[in-house]
Symmetry: C2
Subunit: 240 residues, 2 copies
């Protein structure tokens, strides 16, 4: 895996650099670049805060200027929460992610400012586009690692084929209609015997309601057998 | 604004509860519920770690059991990174967000386990579906607030109308084609004078290349005037 480069300009706390590395690696990003980290480099606090993403920390590259840090890149986004007084395209993390995927990830990167002041306008002017995370207009307060996480996650998602929804059925499989019909008829027979369906003209609607309820549950073959055991147990009790 | 409830079961550090509140409020979520917070409640560390989202912390509700915490909800997701040995639907944060938006946000919630052990299987069984964040299979290590952030952000995005890409043009507007054509002809005239286009058969292709380059820049009316000033300045120098 690789991914867009993450360039931190004037980052302050080693902990935050480590948390950025952790956020990155969760999403498969490994190319971390640091411009003038305030507390020096290497930094032990960055290693411990990375919670196991120390490979990203150890391989981080150090630069004196933003220009040098992005020299080999051909498409760069400047992450900033503030509007800048300049003519520039602004994209969301999702927008940046789809552009990067369409453009080809190699040679792309996102620059983030330090914790206190964010990016300078001159750094923003080095970038192709501004990247701004849309957030609650009354409370916009992401920390550095959280900003990196949202950008990295949007990029990761576009390369990930996890379906938005699926059903785990460990050790079993969805019940087929014959098995379901067996359950329905077992239940309906038991209810006929118990007197639950004694109003004959209401029986058809009751049967349909019960069948709809049970269909909605999306039962597995194992669960159908469990429910038939439940019916058997309840009817056995009744008869004794 | 409101949003799905966030239910933390057996959370440990107050700092992490505060960071969850901060992540929530960034995305407009305010309904925080705590089940057996280990370090007691209220917790001053939660307030300070919320970085201004203290309204969410102060309004958090306290419960003895997960069942009580979700009693008024009608659709609940259990956030877990681990596969569980149970038949259950699994959704991504994006999948959960679109279901919640489609279903109606009121009465929905997401339960998250504590920092150390995550959710118990009995808590998972209380939920309608499992919510799992797809991540780098070789490094899945989100902290509690980061997990909450991704879920909350996906929900927020679906209600937010920020375009994925737009261009800021503060104090100006995109140049119209007449203004661009004026720039093109100004430049081409200057290059005719300077001798840059002296190979006449190459002039048409050169003109098209320059026009394509300048069109790609998406210039504003102000920038067209700036560039015409640049041409004027350079030709003035040449003539002296």
């Amino acid at each position: 895996m690789s991914g867009p480069a993450v360039i931190l300009v004037d980052p302050q706390l080693g902990e935050n650099i480590g948390m950025v590395a952790r956020a990155m690696l969760n999403c498969g990003l490994t190319d971390l670049r640091l411009v003038r980290p305030r507390d020096g480099w290497p930094n032990e606090k960055a290693v411990s805060a990375s919670s196991g993403a120390d490979m990203v920390v150890y391989r981080a590259k150090l630069f004196d200027t933003t220009s040098e840090a992005i020299a080999d890149l051909n498409r760069v986004y400047a992450a900033t929460a503030r509007d800048r007084d300049m003519t520039k395209a602004v994209v969301t993390p999702a927008g940046a992610a789809s552009e990067i995927r369409a453009h080809g990830t190699a040679g792309t990167g996102v620059i983030f400012g330090g914790e206190a002041k964010g990016l300078k306008n001159d750094d923003v002017a080095l970038a192709d586009k501004i990247l701004t995370v849309p957030l609650n207009p009354d409370f916009k307060s992401l920390n550095l690692a959280q900003s990196v996480l949202l950008v990295a996650y949007e990029w990761f998602k576009l390369g990930d084929d996890t379906p938005d929804s699926h059903t785990m059925t460990p050790g079993t499989r969805p019940a087929n209609k014959e098995e379901l019909l067996g359950l329905f008829e077992h239940l309906e027979g038991a209810l006929d015997d118990s007197g639950f369906m004694h109003v004959r003209e209401k029986r058809p609607i009751m049967v349909r309601n019960l069948r709809n309820m049970l269909q909605r549950a999306g039962l597995t073959e194992q669960e159908v057998r469990t429910l038939r055991g439940v019916i058997k147990s309840l009817t056995y009790r009744r008869e004794t």
